[in-house]
Every structure is written in structure tokens, then in C-alpha cells.
């Protein structure tokens, strides 16, 4: 028996079947057309974004925990064309609030017609300050209120967007800038530390950026991975000492008319740098002005980046070698009968004053800084092999290994080199014909102040990574001289300083030290009247706790280190002993006995 409405049922079933088949056919067709690839690509846009998460750059502290470098929030300001409906208001607001943006450029960008497959987002400015963004935010809100009241579409800052990002900042401004270096944060992908601590410890400070997919689908959202911030560093620098040496250097340059200079304060016992000032001073918060401050090949930090002929401060090294090798003793005498010393009967060496000083013991040679005497010590007593062995043991010709980027080094000219000539031995003995950096001098002479042990100079005291603190262990580079030699030489240089009634002396404290006046070579020889004036000293003599090196480049008030650099040393030490809480000798020794 045929069911009623049978034909209608069959018809409905057929329609459904055809629709089903059509849907399947369409699904297959879509997957095999060229348009399908575009659709797939477009759908990827809506799935989410791949984002690189940059960890916060580590903080840099001084030895007492004062912040020298940290991060603050800056904003990237941009235009998202999808939402722009009033380019005039955007251009006007931005141009009136952000100094380096002008109306025409912003208007052109905001008026760009949105097209498919085209960049829909333009960056207007990176690292806009919070204050400016707050102004824009207030304006955006007030426009929104006005539109609501007037039921109008304009004015509107819709489409003007900003995203926070961290930027490097140096709260102390120019303080220790030559040592810290800077971080060129403008281009986030290529940003890195430049010079100083920022470059030397760039990898530690940066941390590990991670690429993370941020889905739009809330079902796919997962907590972000735990991204650790970059390691923080505690420096050996003392903020108060750093400030003091920078002030002293600036004052010294002003009154001496020097072209540049450096003052280094170090602890000879462990190689810690307590203060390091160098010219020109620089504000790393405006690092884009780098080329204005350091034109041409001007080194960023002269203390480690410039080699120069140090002059008579180098006599400390020659005398240390002579005493340690046993070829001379403090009481060994030299008769400076003519005021001239002939090298290989060809080259004359004169004293600084051109005069003859008669019979002098080694202390007298150092006290009067006699070139003739020291040339005799190097050429006749030490001779080539021993002299250069000691120079190498003191680290000359090699980098000191200080943990700062861009350390310079000039190779030591040895008798085995073709360029070496016999007179080099004589001139090297009093610091001419040899190029060193201030930090090399500090490192080498710190052996004399530290019982013969030469420590690696360093500026990082601790590293704080993943919530744990790692303290840096001081490293011994070498022991070029014995403790007895070191103490004997310190004693000699204490006596010479006192007998000379030097401007370097500080009341209440026994100090050891040596002046230096280095002639500056030109392409025609030592024809310049300008000099490098320097002074190296340490104290207290019986238990050295600091070593101070002063170098003033081309002073005009006087060419002599004893006139220009020694008083600066005295001024520095006078304040340094207070900052380091070192009491005068009588109190210190009395306390030690009790």
C-alpha cells in the first residue's frame, strides 16, 4: 500500500541530499582554489600574534646599593589606520604635544588609505615620555566626552595608540658615565650595551628574550612563560668617591688648562676600582649625542682606552725591578758627575733640569727623578733581558683584563723586535718610548702597594641573577716582585715624598708616591712643549688601602707633574680618607695597638 504524501517526502529528502552534496562539493572546491590560500593566510591574522617578550635589563648598583642604571617606561606612539576617522585632530594633537613631530607628516600618515596587505600601523615616535602620553590620553578622553554630548563623529583621536616599553635610564646623569657605557635602546631588535660595563656585561644584563604566540582565541590562552629579568650588577665603584674624583678632575682641568685627564682610585689589595673619572664627561641619558662629545677617535674612557708615554711615574717599575733582582739596593749609589748618560756612545740622556746631581743613592735618584741614574740602572745593572722580563711580569704589552669594554693596549717593543733600538732600554727606564694606559700603570704599581701581588682590576663586585647573589672573587695576575721589595720601595717613596715636601702630602697620613712628566712625541720627535703630567701614590704607607693615579693631558699652567698633578693627588686623598673612613695614622696605629 502506497503511503499518503509519499512523493512529497521523497522530494524533501532529495532536496536535503542535494544540499548536503553541494556543501561537501563546495568545501572541497574551496580547498583547491587559489583563493583558499589567501583565506588561510587571512585567518592566521585573526588567530593571534607572535610576540617577542624582552626581559627587563638588569639594574646596575654602586657598592652601597645606589642605582646607577635602571629602566623606566617609555611609550611607542603609533597610528592604527583601521580605527582612524579624524586625521586632522590626530595630527594637530600630536604635533602640539610631541616636539619632534610636525603636523604635515602626521596628517599624511593618518590619511593613508587603508589597503589590503598593507601596513596598517605606523610608528610615530619611540620612547615618548609618560607625561606626554598622559596629556594625549586626557585629550583623547575629553574628545570622547565632547562627541557623546554633541552626538558628533569629530573631533576624535581614535586610531592614535601607544604601547609601554622599558627604556634605559641613568638616574645619576653624567656620574660614572665613562665607566658605565650606555644602552642604545631606540631600536629594540638591535639594542645593545655600548662601551663600559653595559657592553662588557651585555649578555648578562639583557637576559633571554623569548618568542611567544598570543592567541586571540580565549580557549588557547596559556600563562606566559616565566621570563627572568636580566642579571643585576653591583659595582666596586663608590658613588661618593666617584663624585669626588669627577669634581676634582673638572677643577684640575680648569685651573691647569689641561686638555683632558683621568683620575683612578683603586684598592691595591683586591683590584677593586673605587672611582674612575675620565674626560670628556657625558650624559648617557642622551646617548645619541655621543658623536658630538667624542668626535673622531676620542676614546670613551681615557683611563682604559688611551695609551700614552707616562714619564717618570714609570721609574717606580724600573726601581722595583732593580731592587727585586738584587742588582741595586736603596743605599746603592750613582755618581751623576756630568748630568748626561751616553747610550752606546751615541745617544745622550739628560736629567729633567739638565743638571748634574753628584753622588746619589737610589732613594735620591727617585726623589730627584734623575733620568740619568735610572738609565744607568736599566742599561748597566738590569740590562735588556732582566729589564724586559720584569716589564712583562708587570703586565706591560698586555691588556689588564679589566671587565670593561674597549680596553686599549700597545704592544711592548722588545729587543727581539726589528723596531727596537738600544736607546729604548734607557728611555723606557724613565717612561719614554713606551706606551701604556692609565689602568696598566695602576695595575702594575698596585703590586708595589700590595706586597708584590698584582691583582686583576675589576669594577663588578657581585652579580645578582635569578634571585641569587654571586660575589666576584679577586684574581691575582702575577707576583712580579717579592713582598720585601714592595715594602722597601714603598718606604723609599714615602721618604722621597716627605723630603721633597711635595704638594701631594696630606697632613696626618704617610703616603708613598711618584711624580711623572712625560714628553709627548710628534712626527718630528719630542718637539712639543706640552707634556703629560701624572702622579701615582698610595697609602697609608704601612698598610696601603688605596692607590690614586692622576693624569692630566697637556696642562698649560706648568709642564711638570710635581706642580700640576701632585696637588690634585693631595686634594683627592684629603677627601678620600674621609670617605673611606681611614683615620690619621696616629689614631689608626693607636687603635691597632689597643
Amino acid at each position: 500500500m502506497k503511503m499518503p504524501y509519499h512523493g512529497r517526502y521523497v522530494f524533501v529528502v532529495l532536496i536535503c541530499a542535494i544540499l548536503g552534496v553541494a556543501i561537501v562539493v563546495q568545501m572541497v572546491r574551496i580547498n583547491y582554489t587559489t583563493y583558499s590560500q589567501q583565506l588561510i593566510a587571512k585567518s592566521a591574522d585573526y588567530q593571534g600574534v607572535e610576540k617577542i617578550i624582552y626581559p627587563s635589563r638588569g639594574t646596575i648598583y654602586d657598592r652601597s646599593g645606589h642605582i646607577l642604571a635602571t629602566n623606566q617606561v617609555g611609550y611607542e606612539l603609533g597610528i592604527d589606520l583601521k580605527f582612524v576617522n579624524d586625521p586632522e585632530s590626530i595630527a594637530f594633537s600630536v604635533a602640539s604635544i610631541i616636539d619632534d613631530l610636525d603636523y604635515v607628516n602626521v596628517f599624511e600618515l593618518a590619511s593613508t588609505e587603508e589597503r589590503e596587505n598593507e601596513n596598517r600601523y605606523f610608528v610615530l615616535s619611540s620612547y615618548v615620555s609618560k607625561e606626554k602620553i598622559d596629556e594625549l590620553s586626557r585629550l583623547k578622553e575629553s574628545y570622547a566626552d565632547r562627541r557623546q554630548q554633541q552626538r558628533a563623529e569629530k573631533p576624535s583621536l581614535s586610531g592614535l595608540v601607544w604601547y609601554p616599553m622599558q627604556q634605559r635610564t641613568y638616574p645619576e646623569g653624567t656620574l660614572a658615565a665613562n665607566l658605565l657605557g650606555f644602552y642604545n635602546y631606540f631600536s629594540r631588535e638591535t639594542a645593545q650595551g655600548v662601551y663600559g660595563v653595559e657592553e662588557a656585561y651585555n649578555r648578562l644584563l639583557t637576559g633571554k628574550p623569548q618568542s611567544v604566540f598570543m592567541p586571540n582565541d580565549p580557549y588557547l590562552v596559556e600563562p606566559l612563560p616565566d621570563i627572568q629579568p636580566g642579571a643585576s650588577l653591583v659595582l666596586t665603584i663608590d658613588r661618593d668617591i666617584q663624585r669626588m674624583v669627577e669634581r676634582q678632575l673638572a677643577d684640575a682641568m680648569e685651573w691647569s688648562g689641561a686638555e683632558g685627564g683621568t683620575i683612578i682610585v683603586a684598592n691595591p689589595e683586591n683590584g677593586e676600582i673605587l672611582g674612575m673619572a675620565s674626560t670628556p664627561f657625558f650624559n648617557p641619558n642622551e646617548y645619541w649625542k655621543y658623536e658630538e662629545t667624542f668626535p673622531g677617535i676620542t676614546p670613551y674612557n681615557k683611563a682604559i682606552g688611551t695609551t700614552y708615554e707616562p714619564g717618570s711615574v714609570f721609574k717606580v717599575i724600573t726601581m722595583a725591578a732593580a731592587l727585586d733582582s738584587g742588582v741595586a739596593e736603596p743605599s746603592t749609589t750613582y755618581n751623576d758627575s756630568s748630568g748626561v748618560y751616553w747610550v752606546a756612545n751615541s745617544w745622550p740622556i739628560y736629567n729633567w733640569d739638565g743638571g748634574a746631581w753628584g753622588v746619589q743613592d737610589m732613594t735620591g735618584c727617585m726623589q730627584h727623578s734623575l733620568n740619568v741614574c735610572l738609565a744607568h740602572v736599566a742599561v748597566d745593572l738590569l740590562q735588556e733581558d732582566l729589564f724586559y722580563q720584569y716589564l712583562q711580569a708587570f703586565g706591560f704589552g698586555r691588556s689588564t683584563g679589566i671587565d670593561l669594554a674597549s680596553e686599549a693596549n700597545f704592544p711592548l717593543r722588545l729587543p727581539t723586535n726589528n723596531q727596537w733600538v738600544e736607546i729604548d732600554l734607557a728611555t723606557n727606564s724613565f717612561g719614554q718610548g713606551i706606551a701604556v694606559t692609565p689602568i696598566q700603570m695602576v695595575t702594575a704599581i698596585s703590586a708595589v702597594a700590595n706586597d708584590g701581588m698584582m691583582m686583576t682590576p675589576h669594577v663588578v663586585r657581585s652579580v645578582i641573577d635569578r634571585g641569587q647573589q654571586y660575589d666576584v672573587t679577586p684574581q691575582v695576575i702575577n707576583s712580579p716582585i717579592s713582598p720585601e721589595t714592595a715594602q722597601s720601595l714603598t718606604q723609599m717613596l714615602t721618604i722621597t715624598l716627605e723630603e721633597e715636601a711635595s704638594d701631594a702630602l696630606v697632613e696626618g697620613y704617610t703616603l708613598a708616591g711618584k711624580t711623572g712628566t712625560g714628553e709627548i712625541p710628534t712626527e718630528f720627535g719630542y718637539t712639543s712643549e706640552l707634556t703629560n703630567a701624572s702622579f701615582v701614590g698610595w697609602g697609608p704607607s704601612d698598610d696601603p688601602q688605596f692607590l690614586v693615579y692622576v693624569w692630566l693631558e697637556k696642562p698649560t699652567i706648568s709642564p711638570w707633574g710635581s706642580v700640576v698633578a701632585a696637588p690634585v693627588f693631595g686634594d683627592v686623598v684629603e677627601e678620600l680618607v674621609v670617605l673611606m673612613r681611614i683615620p690619621p695614622d696616629n689614631i689608626r696605629l693607636k687603635t691597632a695597638i689597643e
Binding site: S56, T59, Y61, R63, S64, G65, H66, I67, T70, N71, Q72, V73, K130, P164, Q166, T169, P171, E172, G173, L175, D217, P218, Y219, L220, V221, E222, P223, L224, S232, V234, R239, D240, R243, R461, S462, I464, G467, Q468, Q469, Y470, D471, T473, V506, E507, G508, E574, E575, V577, V578, M580, R581, P583, P584, I587, T591
Partner: protein
Amino acid sequence: MKNRILQAYRQAPWRIQIQWIGLFLLGLVLIAAVTGLYLNISAQAATAGRKIQSLERDIDDINNEIADLTTELAKAESIENMEARAKDLGFKLIDPNRAVYLEIPGYNPNADLVLAPPRINIISESPIVKSSYKISLWEWFANQIWHPLEGPSSIKEGASP
């Protein structure tokens, strides 16, 4: 008895229909319940996802705020500001010749700055060679009998300098 039941169904076929309808409705209710449950859970998952995103934004904001406040504090405590404030309060730089030194027992001006706990080394015994392989069969057997619950101590903690 069987005949009676068959007769009853023949007399009232609607009972079968009611049974089928009941079963269908039961299935429908089950499906609705499962669907409702699914919708409820997925709504919760979506809310949780959105909340995670919101919390992550909050974390970012807080981190940025912390960075800003740290910078503000560092600027306020910068040596230039501190010197200016000290000057305003009438302080002057000390004349080194007038400094008075007092000995304070236990005070160390050069004490190390501690901003975080020191590194801790966790040294574990090598898991490569089990202790059971280092002893004789007899010792192992005796251990199992006399000290069946004792395991090897494997972790020692110590602080590095």
C-alpha cells in the same frame, strides 16, 4: 499470563508509542544536559582565558609602574639631589682636619652589600651507579632484611662562598 499482556498491548497500542516518546525525550534531556554542561565549562574556560590575558596585562602594568617608581626613587636619591637637600638643611662638607674618629665595635665600612641571598649549591649523589651495585649480594640481602625501609640519602645542601 503472557497472552494477557499481549492482549493488553493489542488493546492499547498507544502504550508502545508513549514508551518510544519517553525514550526519545530521555535522550533529548541527556543531550541537552551534556550540551549545557559543555557550554558551561567552555564559557568558564573562555572567561579564565580572558582573565589570564587581563592578569598578564596587569602584571606588565605593575612591572612598568615598579620600574617607574624605582627610577623616581633613584633620581630623588641621586647624589646631586642629596647634596642639594643637605645644603638646604644647612649641612656642609666636612673639613678633613676637623674630623673626629670614633671606634665603633663591629662596624665595618667595607661590608659587602647583600641584595639577594647567596648562591646555594645542591649537590646530589651520582644517580648513575645505584648503591645496590656497589655492595655484595650478601650485604644487599642483609640490608633488605635488617633495614628494609632505609633509602640512600641523596641530597646534601651547602652554601657556596
